[in-house]
């Protein structure tokens, strides 16, 4: 395999992939295991670290839109472990405060004064952040929208 011809390279790797798959299958047959169809099913019941790292490396960050601003930000939800962590990050993003001493009672409701924090899910509904547990929220949130509180009285045609 001394050739640097891309076509030959591609078929070289295809061959290698095919061979290693065969070998893996042989291994699974030998040990009587079902070959994994999905990395997650490899270790049933194991929802530990390697999965999260893999996910964090692959899942893109979500857009954060503050209503009224034309430029959005992005945030990687997997880098945070809780709603409080998210609240802190959003405050740093949008609130111009040099003083971070009052971080102790920071939560979603006061992270950005005058605004509430909502998210768009995969069905394109807009929901208030905080009802789900953190892990479930990270899985379903597609985009974060920060709305002014006055928007509550705005009439919208939903469904």
């Amino acid at each position: 395999m001394n050739s640097f011809d891309p076509q030959k390279q591609e078929s070289f790797w295809q061959e290698r992939r095919a061979t290693s798959m065969e070998e893996s299958l042989k291994h699974y047959k030998a040990t009587n295991m079902a070959p994994p169809s999905n990395p997650r099913t490899m270790r049933p019941g194991f929802s530990g670290g390697f999965d999260d790292d893999l996910v964090a490396a692959v899942v893109p960050s979500v857009t954060v839109v503050l209503e009224g601003r034309s430029i959005c930000q992005r945030i990687s939800l997997h880098k945070h472990g809780s709603y409080q962590s998210l609240a802190r990050a959003l405050r740093q993003m949008f609130v111009d405060m040099a003083d971070s001493s009052n971080e102790t009672n920071l939560d979603l409701s006061n992270a950005i004064p005058g605004y509430l924090i909502a998210y768009e899910d995969m069905e394109n509904d807009l929901l208030l952040v905080g009802d789900l547990n953190w892990k479930d929220f990270v899985r379903v949130a597609k985009r974060i929208r920060i709305l002014p509180v006055k928007a509550k009285s705005r009439k919208q045609n939903k469904e």
């Binding site: 509430l116 509904d125 929901l127 208030l128 789900l132 009439k155 939903k158 469904e159």
Partner: protein, 103 residues
């Protein structure tokens, strides 16, 4: 952590800019559910007996409805609680004026 599992469903309210999510497994009866709505939508005055809710901000009446497993929209409260929890996919607090034929 996980008691009897959880069943989160979306709750949409006509006219509200965003939806909420509520865990039906946290409650044991329709009454408890309506109380949860009171906490969630603080501007709603709820009359549990009549299954009616009035939005004190605009004086409009709302009726709780839900989408069942067949995709039909039903009035909340007709079937036994457990059956409701099992078949409810999402909820909508509908303006009374739109709940024609249901009430």
């Amino acid at each position: 952590m996980m008691k009897k599992g959880s069943k989160f469903v979306k709750v949409a309210m006509d006219g509200a800019p965003y939806l909420r999510k509520i865990d039906l497994q946290l409650h044991n009866s329709y009454q408890e559910l309506l109380c949860a709505f009171k906490d969630m939508f603080t501007f709603l005055t709820i009359s549990v007996n009549e299954r009616k809710m009035v939005n004190s901000a605009n004086g409009l009446e709302y009726v709780p409805t839900y989408e069942d497993k067949d995709g039909d929209w039903m009035l909340v409260g007709d079937v036994p609680w457990k059956m409701f929890v099992d078949s409810c996919q999402r909820m909508r607090l509908m303006k009374s004026s739109e709940a024609i034929g249901l009430v």
